[in-house]
Amino acid sequence: MISFIAQRIAKAIVVLLALVVLNFFLIRLAPGDPALVMAGEAGAGDQIFLAQLREKFGLDQPLPVQLFLYVKGILSLDLGFSFRQQMPVATLILQRLPATLLLTGTAFAISLAFGIVFGALAARFAGTWADTAITVLALVFYATPLFWVALMAILLFSVTMDWLPSFGYETVGANYTGLTHVLDVAAHLVLPATTIGLFFMATYARMTRASMLEVNRLDFVKTARAKGLSDTVIQRRHVLRNALLPVVTLAGLQAGTLVGGAVLTETVFAWPGIGRLMYEALLQRDYNLLLGVFVVCSAMVLAFNLITDLVYRSVDPRIEFAS
């Protein structure tokens, strides 16, 4: 087991480095560069200005040199300097990472909980109108454009009913501490987390339903029934545990993308997270910041994939892993 994990980590590092090199070039393929962006926002810029900026950003050096310097930095855990904001990339990311984790973590929990419940219910009534109704309900939030749901939620809960705040992480200028602060952040968290949670709920509901139906027709379930166990016990103890396998796979897949997946929600709710940071970095061609966010997100995805595989293996012993 240990050597398996060690091998996987080593391979993950290789993947990460390959990713860095690939994205390094990929990002620079996009037209425009950060100096032009700065000039554009200033509404003025001459050649001296652009040349100065490019020199400050290190863009005047040949590409292989830039790549080398960057990779060297990565290996010593230095994510470089943001061209535009003139701050270390690591600082910028660390400032915003907790907010995103809070948001997507909460959303993940919501979607998993509701999704499994809906899916199990639908499987119970499979093939009937109740099944369709439950499925449709789960799907409605998936099928409606996320930003539309977000805006409607804001209109309903912030503007009309004034129950919840419409933007930000906390009430600016109020400087709450302790429990009040926690409650303040929680109030700001409700709308965005629920919006994302309801969106992803459908996926888990579908997977749970399909999986439960499939497991239900397996022989060991028939055996359990023949033994006279009650249906509830069967569903809960035998079926659910086995049915959750593909759901776990999916959850593992999704968990890794949690960090980068909230761009839309963070934009609408002005949530100070990584998704928005990445999108803005792309638009500003802030290469180092964009690459830095990719590296952090990728590292998290790789970590989650490894964990998922380990969980998968422990739950279903019939699966052998080639060594």
Binding site: L16, T128, Y142, A143, P145, M207, R217, L264, L282, I319
Partner: protein
């Protein structure tokens, strides 16, 4: 068998209508949806020939939905097909052969998956500059890894089943086994995933439009929703009607997927009992 599933029936009905609209609609409504035909922000149900009202520039929302059907459905379909064409073979090979092949293929898959998919899609579209082609390519590129992983997982599970062992013993070739014995049984979750993927592709396209990365030469539902989002307060119909079109299509696709799933598992005809 599909017909016995009420959800599946509804799904098929809706999808048929959508496809019909996409194919025949533009013939019956020849005016381009880009033409400015009336005053802007005309509410729906006020003029007989403009049942869904007009948008910010006075363009017919109904025409937009009809022409948009073609674009949105094509985007969803083609990008999903491309994803499946790449993901299924890769996942099956990885799951069946195991060992070094599994390793290499999974590293390759992981490679694509480690970058957050929406982020990668945005970067790809930004690089290729927004157009319907770049959007389809971007969606396809970010969507195939989950297919591969799912197929691999299923194949891994099924590889050890008795009927597969039986086939091996009787000397069938690997690809025959994969094709005839394993894949049909692995397909249910893949079909479910595929129907979701078409829906996701349609939604991805609308999200890209929201961020200003849509194709400005093609009127798609996503484009209409994105265009109307800044005037949601004064003209709800500009986003709601194409939003409903997206919602209904996505719903239909999912119900069909579900119905197919149930139908393909012959012992499920009566449900879970």
């Amino acid at each position: 068998m599909l017909l016995r599933n009420p959800g599946g029936m509804i799904g098929v009905a809706i999808l048929t209508i959508a496809i019909a609209v996409a194919l025949v609609g533009p013939l019956l409504f020849p005016t381009s949806p880009w033409r400015m035909v009336q005053r802007p922000f005309l509410p729906p149900f006020t003029m007989a020939n403009l049942p869904l009202g007009t948008d910010a520039l006075g363009r017919d929302v109904m025409a937009g939905i009809i022409y948009g059907a073609r674009v949105s459905l094509l985007v969803g379909l083609i990008s999903t097909l491309a994803s499946l064409a790449v993901g299924i073979p890769l996942g099956a090979a990885a799951g069946y052969f195991g060992g070094k092949i599994d390793d290499a293929l999974m590293r390759f898959t992981e490679f694509f998956q480690t970058v957050p998919s929406f982020a990668l899609a945005i970067v790809l579209v930004a690089i290729m500059q927004p157009s319907i082609v770049s959007i389809v390519v971007a969606i396809a590129i970010v969507s195939w890894p989950p297919v591969a992983r799912l197929v691999r997982g299923e194949v891994l599970s099924l590889r050890t089943r008795e009927y597969v062992q039986a086939a091996v013993v009787t000397g069938q070739t690997n690809w025959w086994i994969i094709w005839r014995e394993i894949l049909p049984n692995a397909l249910s979750p893949v079909i479910v995933l595929a129907s979701l993927m078409v829906a996701t592709a349609i939604l991805l396209e609308s999200s890209l439009s929201f961020l200003g990365l849509g194709d400005p030469n093609l009127m798609s539902w996503g484009y209409m929703v994105g265009a109307g989002r800044t005037v949601i307060r004064q003209a709800w119909w500009i986003t709601v009607f194409p939003g409903i079109a997206i919602l209904v299509s996505v719903l239909a696709l999912n119900l069909i997927g579900e119905g197919l799933n149930d139908a393909l598992n012959p012992r499920l005809a009566k449900g879970g009992r």
